[in-house]
Symmetry: C2
Amino acid sequence: MTGRVTIVGLGPGDPRWLTPAASEALTSATDLIGYGPYVDRIGERPGQRRHGSDNRVELDRARFALDLAEKGARVAVVSGGDPGVFAMAAAVFEAIENGDPAWRELDIRVEPGITAMLAAAARVGAPLGGDFCAMSLSDNLKPWDIVEKRLRAAVEADFAVALYNPISSARPWQLGAALKIVSEIRSQDTPIILARAVGRPDESIRILPLADVEASMADMSTMVIIGASTTRLIERPGNEAPYVYTPRFYGVRP
Amino acid sequence: MTGRVTIVGLGPGDPRWLTPAASEALTSATDLIGYGPYVDRIGERPGQRRHGSDNRVELDRARFALDLAEKGARVAVVSGGDPGVFAMAAAVFEAIENGDPAWRELDIRVEPGITAMLAAAARVGAPLGGDFCAMSLSDNLKPWDIVEKRLRAAVEADFAVALYNPISSARPWQLGAALKIVSEIRSQDTPIILARAVGRPDESIRILPLADVEASMADMSTMVIIGASTTRLIERPGNEAPYVYTPRFYGVRP
């Protein structure tokens, strides 16, 4: 038997966002590997081994998956959202590049998933309806000056921007610094979306003008979306939250 | 009965990428509205009305959907990929903003889907594993100088870039112009992914260095992904295509 590693996107919390292809990959695996809370989202199956681990050991986890596959296992490495977006896929390929040459002969697949920014955007309207960027605010793996330079470039070029990993107890100041950069360039009434735990029972979503946003409103489960200059609110009657969308056209409507 | 419009992401071609939530929205609809080939992907259901239309009439289609919902219909507006990414969601919200105020009282939802860049990325590895931008190369709705400015900013700030709508018979020169801009800034061996019809029977994927890419290699079903400066190939034995990934770390590995 030839081993296999499939890096599977679970999507955001709601199981109704797990694709049939991802479900199949989970069902046919002999071993599930991933950050504990993601593994916990998957129903137990007789005979299937489960290897939950801590959040900060992506590369060890990737090597462990490749080792098991080399011994013949069919491994599913599980990832929240899409595995290719600030998640496990890059860690697995990094492990392959720098690891046992035999790993290059394994059957490696990536099963895409609904990534958090798309789920968050869907909840409020279509804020990513024009050109947009996705950035991780984590400076664990890249220097902060790169983050700053990219964010500034994205905002100056009037992309909407989705910020992953905006804040954590170990990285308390980065989101505040990012919002300050945005404020230097974009109008104070730019719509900002703070979408926490989308698709989970504790989901909460706020839409605020840039002037009113504080870093303390976000936590590590929050997706922050910064509107472009063209991003608009559509007010609704009663107590309904407005819709937020970025028109497809730019400048004068043709 | 209160009408409803759900803008549903079908994902790329493969039905195994259609989420259960999207399936439910399709099943419970009284009316399906969308670009003909997308409507054709959905199995017929007794009593469900199907309204396929041409590709270039998004706003008319959106208004038609809202009109039907106002009369009590449960409408699913279908979109390839994710409806919030260069697709129907922005058109529906644009129609709401500028249309009958009663439309603001309707139940409007967006069901996210796997967007083409994530499916394309998954097929080759993890090229979007670092910060990235998504841009439409279409200048039907925004002036070309905005496209150019954004692309230049994204490449200079070393984002990977996913190009939607790279080329069509009505827009034959834009991709060539875009590649020229990329070539001025990024190295000639930058990996470029041309992923055509991902998830469909006629899927074809090429991975080429920037120097070897010509605009004629793409068509309107092609997703073009431009690697960042850190995007790497992992060569594999035999005739296997290399993996392409962008490491999570930037600069020196911590």
